[in-house]
């Protein structure tokens, strides 16, 4: 009894220390990664911006009530940034300062940007994540397995690519119905072919190298070889593509909203704010600048983070 008890504790202790070791090692790896990344000041600033926007999106309700940013108060229409006005809201008149001004329905632009962050940030991120997974898997199969898989997947990709993206998205949303999730699917599927091509091409470049053969030789399975040996060597084109895609996903969402297929007003979204603002470009350019600059900053930040990530992940650039 006691003997077995001691062995269990010994094993547990052993496991504990192993776990601690693994933890320490991955901690060290992360610290090293972080040191690498933090050398790139622009990437750090961009990361702060993106995290900040994400925070704003999460806590949007604490900053502005949703009803407040969606209800009209026409008497306050087209206020300049910093002006204030009286808003009749929840059966009360309240004095409110429009920090970034108001739109043609008298809604607070900053408030709409804050709530729009929810949609835009999620779409930017989720569409890329979905298309990256799908495209990555299909591209890996096509590139690594070759033969019939390759032919089938690549021809399907060609077909997808030959349909104009906007038509494809319209078709998907029209078929599945107009909802946030379907919008996501539509945008993601328009980005999948790009990933398939990039991943396949990069894999073909790497898979004939001797270290892949060496991995076969020590008995590694296909899954392990792709995941541990090939993918880490093709991260840079994928990261570049992804950061570009975050931007275009946000833009696609905007375009589809504009066509009435995405997020419909009054629900705020950066893209539909932008398209609504076009009419007033002459009288109230701030209507255009606010969402336009926000989109620009977000997209730029994602790109800079991408560059930083790519460099930080490359051991050759480590110091």
């Amino acid at each position: 009894m006691s003997a077995s008890a001691t062995t269990t504790t010994a094993v547990a202790a052993g496991r504990g220390s192993n776990f601690a070791r693994a933890l320490r090692r991955s901690g060290r790896n992360f610290a090293q990664f972080w040191r690498q990344l933090s050398r790139n000041k622009l990437a750090v600033i961009s990361l702060v911006i993106v995290v900040g926007f994400a925070g704003v999106a999460i806590f949007a309700d604490l900053l502005y009530e949703y009803d407040f940013v969606t209800s009209n108060s026409l008497e306050n229409a087209l206020l300049k940034p910093g002006e204030s006005g009286t808003v009749y809201y929840h059966d009360k008149d309240i004095e409110h300062t429009f920090i970034l001004g108001s739109d043609n329905y008298g809604r607070d632009i900053l408030g709409r940007l804050v709530h729009g962050a929810r949609v835009s940030m999620i779409i930017g991120f989720a569409a890329v994540a979905i298309s990256l997974c799908a495209g990555g898997i299909l591209g890996s199969i096509a590139g690594y397995k070759g033969g019939l898989f390759d032919t089938l997947i690549m021809r399907a990709t060609d077909i997808l690519l030959s349909i104009p993206t906007i038509l494809l998205a319209i078709a998907i949303v029209a078929a599945l119905g107009n909802s946030f999730f379907n919008l996501l699917i539509a945008i993601a599927s328009s980005m999948i072919p790009g990933y398939i091509r990039i991943v396949r091409a990069s894999i073909i470049q790497v898979k004939d190298q001797e270290f892949v053969e060496a991995a076969h030789c020590i008995g590694a399975g296909d899954f392990r070889i792709v995941l541990r040996h090939i993918l880490p060597n093709i991260t840079s084109p994928i990261i570049v593509q992804s950061t570009l895609n975050v931007g275009s996903a946000i833009n696609w969402a905007a375009s589809l909203s504009f066509l009435g297929l995405g997020i419909l007003p009054p629900k705020p979204e950066w893209g539909n704010m932008l398209s609504e603002a076009r009419e007033f470009i002459q009288y109230a350019p701030h209507l255009l600048f606010a969402p336009g600059l926000t989109i620009l900053i977000t997209v730029l930040a994602y790109n800079l983070i991408g560059d930083g990530l790519r460099d930080a992940l490359d051991p050759k650039l480590k110091r």
Binding site: G14, F211, A214, A215, I218, G219, P232, N233, P315
Partner: protein, 328 residues
């Protein structure tokens, strides 16, 4: 079965290759990389393989550990057919057969640390329990091949060619294999480390009874380490024999040229070098007949008529040349 095995005794070959062929499809036709090669290796022995660059040595080595699928032929390893092994059998076989690769640059993954590269086979085959044992094992493997402890977390690009090659050797040794295909394991190393590695490989052989197929261009190395030698030319074996005899008296004209071209690290040691006509023939859909004939000083029209077979011309000496008797 087992009785028969025992009866044949220690000399029973652990590896028996017969009629092995590998054709690659190329733009212009079939590239005959390995064309009907047969040999066997006795347990605990070293077979040296030399030949012109591009003659199919690495391909042969890769076929043995099944990194390529053979076009035809059979590879019997310890009674098991390698060319027909299922995935599971193959995974098991790979703990017994390993390969050290030719190019120390492309054969290790630039994104992994030294420890990860050496330790990966241990993880795949679950040879160790727990991180502590894993780390100890990796460190002891590093010590075995003479890699300094400080390099545990280093990345390959920080290392020079010699140290990279030792990573490859440590990786191959990690699973305690019985048979190792050594594809030019020392050509990237300086002579002192080359000597260390050769001593190491030979010590391991003495201690663990390892069997090697040793591919190299360095003829003094192959002479030092091998028991038997095969000389290949354009996908075929042109000569085979015990090391000492073969070096003393090469029979095949290509073998003669090869041995005469060995650079000697002494002043004015220039021997008479046989200069080969540098007429290159392509291994793509080769014409029948002796493949060396276009460059051979003794060739006559009959040489191009038919493939010369590898035959025993004097005890233990096999040569594929129509005129072999003339050179004995």
């Amino acid at each position: 079965m087992s009785a028969a095995k025992q009866a044949s005794g220690a000399a029973a070959p652990i590896l028996r290759v017969s009629g092995l062929k590998k054709y690659f499809q190329s733009a212009h036709g079939k590239l005959h990389a390995v064309d009907d090669v047969s040999f066997d290796i006795a347990k605990g022995k070293t077979l040296g393989m030399v030949g012109e660059s591009g003659c199919g040595k690495s391909t042969t080595g890769r076929l043995l550990v099944r990194l390529h699928e053979a076009t035809a032929g059979s590879i019997l390893y310890d009674g098991q057919e390698v060319t027909a092994a299922s995935d599971r059998e193959l995974k098991k076989l790979r703990t017994r057969m390993q390969m050290i690769f030719q190019d120390p640059y492309s054969s290790i993954n630039p994104r992994h640390t030294v420890a990860n590269i050496i330790g990966e086979p241990l993880k795949i085959h679950k040879k160790v329990k727990g991180a502590a044992e894993y780390e100890d094992r990796v460190r002891s493997l590093m010590a075995t091949v003479g890699l300094a402890d400080r390099l545990y977390d280093a990345y390959p690009h920080e290392l020079d060619g010699g140290r990279r090659q030792r990573i490859g050797i440590a990786r191959a040794l990690a699973l305690d294999p019985e048979f190792i295909v050594c594809d030019e394991p020392v050509s990237a190393l300086d002579v002192s480390i080359q000597a260390q590695i050769l001593n190491l490989l030979m010590d391991l052989q003495d201690k663990l009874g390892l069997t090697y197929l040793f591919i190299t261009h360095d003829l003094s190395v192959v002479k030092h380490i091998s028991d038997d030698i095969v000389i290949m030319y354009m996908g075929q074996i042109v000569e085979r024999g015990p090391t000492e005899e073969l070096f003393a008296r090469p029979i095949h004209p290509y073998g003669q040229a090869l041995l005469s071209a060995i650079p000697v690290p002494k002043l004015n040691a220039r021997k008479e070098r046989i200069i080969l006509k540098s007429e290159v023939s392509s291994p793509i859909d080769p014409k029948p007949g002796c493949r060396f004939a276009p460059r051979c000083a003794y060739a006559s029209p009959e040489c191009a008529a038919a493939d010369p077979a590898l035959r025993e011309v004097s005890p233990g000496r096999y040569v594929a040349c129509r005129l072999a008797e003339q050179f004995v």
